[in-house]
Symmetry: C2
Subunit: 308 residues, 2 copies
């Protein structure tokens, strides 16, 4: 249990969802899991690894001091064990710890989480010599809000990019860590990592469909997505981050993907939720599919009554 009964109500809770560039080597992943469990006040809720992406996503919840400590410790282990000069995988990446997002969960503001992200960024840079970009709510300028723009060029392109006048890191000199690369850190709202698997091995189809649904190329405002190959299954996937599931609901994007896939003679074979999702993201979708009239999420879901 996260806290002894009774203490629960007193703590501010922060969620942290670091992504590491290791999805295949079980020994390294186990080390990261062990480190996740080594800080009092922090619970590892979930982790998942994707061999095609060669990436792992960890979900932790903790109090402010604990979450800052575990974020640093994990980044340190990753920098020691993951060598980006040897990394290849389907998912874009620039560092052994690629991203560290902080999400306000209970009794804590976005501003406080922005402060947390900056404290952790400073410590990682000073002690591990990894340059840091701040993004999303922590971004120091508008063009850095978007992770895709920050990460563009990936690990291989970072050495050169950091020397461009516009891309000086937020923390540290314009010098990548030779094996750990660069890390992006932010505070943001909860997102849902949502993948849609397609009945085709042609990644160009997934790319085209991703382009249709993602906001940056004319699709849904709160949808970010790319096409990826799943080599182990010989199919492709539209891999997305739903950054505001109320503004852009999951079902709407799924149905659009279904519809677009038909044009290619392709079907949706399944979907995935990676890591945690707020219940409402799925219940809003159930409401759509089941055509529920006048459903009142706050008052009709039993568990919500127990928490309030």
């Amino acid at each position: 249990m996260l806290f002894a009964k009774g203490e629960f109500w007193l703590a501010k809770l922060v969620e942290c969802i670091p992504n590491f560039s290791e999805g295949r080597n079980k020994d390294v992943i186990d080390l990261l899991v062990k480190e996740s469990k080594s800080v009092p006040g922090v619970t590892l809720l979930d982790y998942s690894s994707d061999e095609s992406h060669n990436r792992s996503v960890f979900t932790l919840v903790g109090d402010v001091e604990g979450i800052k400590e575990v974020a640093f410790k994990l980044c340190k282990v990753a920098s020691e064990k993951i060598d980006m000069t040897k990394h290849e995988g389907e998912h874009p990446r620039m560092g052994s710890t690629d991203v560290i997002p902080f999400v306000p969960l209970k009794d804590i503001t976005m501003e406080e989480c922005v402060e947390i992200s900056k404290d952790v960024a400073q410590r990682i840079n000073e002690e591990l010599y990894i340059p840091i970009f701040l993004y999303e709510e922590s971004a120091t300028r508008e063009e850095r809000r978007n992770l895709a723009k920050v990460r563009k060029g990936q690990f291989e392109g970072m050495e050169e990019k950091l020397n461009l006048p516009n891309w000086k890191p937020d923390f540290g000199d314009a010098k990548i860590h030779p094996t750990a690369g660069v890390t992006a850190i932010c505070a943001r709202m909860p997102l849902v990592a949502f993948n849609v698997n397609l009945s085709t091995p042609n990644v160009e189809v997934a790319n085209q469909i991703a382009k249709v649904v993602r906001g940056s190329s004319g699709g849904y405002k709160y949808c970010k997505g790319i096409g990826v190959m799943l080599n182990d299954r010989n199919i492709t996937q539209v891999s997305m981050n739903m950054v505001n599931y109320e503004g852009t609901p999951l079902y709407r994007v799924l149905e659009t993907i279904r519809s677009e896939a038909k044009r290619w003679g392709v079907q949706v074979v399944g979907t995935e939720i990676i890591g945690l999702t707020p219940a409402k993201a799925l219940i809003d979708s159930a409401e759509y599919y089941m055509q529920i009239e006048k459903f009142d999420y706050n008052n009709q879901v039993l568990e919500n009554q127990l928490l309030n």
Copy 2:
């Protein structure tokens, strides 16, 4: 809030969902609402009234002593204000308080809830002179488990039924309350009251479809249902109780209804959830519609992590 912070963890919680035979007279409904809020340790979570059914469903949560007290007090008000000799409505009914189910919610067993149901049944009979049948988990014999069988004959047929050898009440003499009728009380698992609205005013279609999906006539084991007319909308409805949403999921029954309705040239125009639903009942359905692979409800829903 249900409890002061810190006390929450100490209390056993019971849910109580009394159904009253009044869905039109706002003054009477308001009196019942006021009574619901009059007992410390009890919270009225939800209530809804249906004019076609001429019935209201209240959802309360409380500690053991509080829930017993509020159940009695509500039954008393209903017996004083609702005259069954003048009652008509679409939903089967036998008493001003038609049913009082108790559901274990937190740190309490079904056996304890059966004891609660019997205590309340005894008090209602002794102080209000209403005969009581125990049903579901509280039933004193197998044939009384099923509410439909207990209630068959409805208010108008109860005077005669109580005198049959097999239908002597569990509490009280074989004598109905002249205006409050008979009440059924039980302990049971959480159910979801789920209605499916059809694009036809022909109640025979709704009846046929209800017959297909309900367990008792050959359909899904954990589905109880009837066809009803919604006069205010000039359409019909399959009105159901989903008594085990894991054994018989909501989406499955909905899709069967959709399919059967086609045969009549009829469509599903919408659905309703009445009162509260456990989150899982809807999330399981989202999982089906969205084809989510390997979803782990206990570990991937964010709010579940905060409660454990």
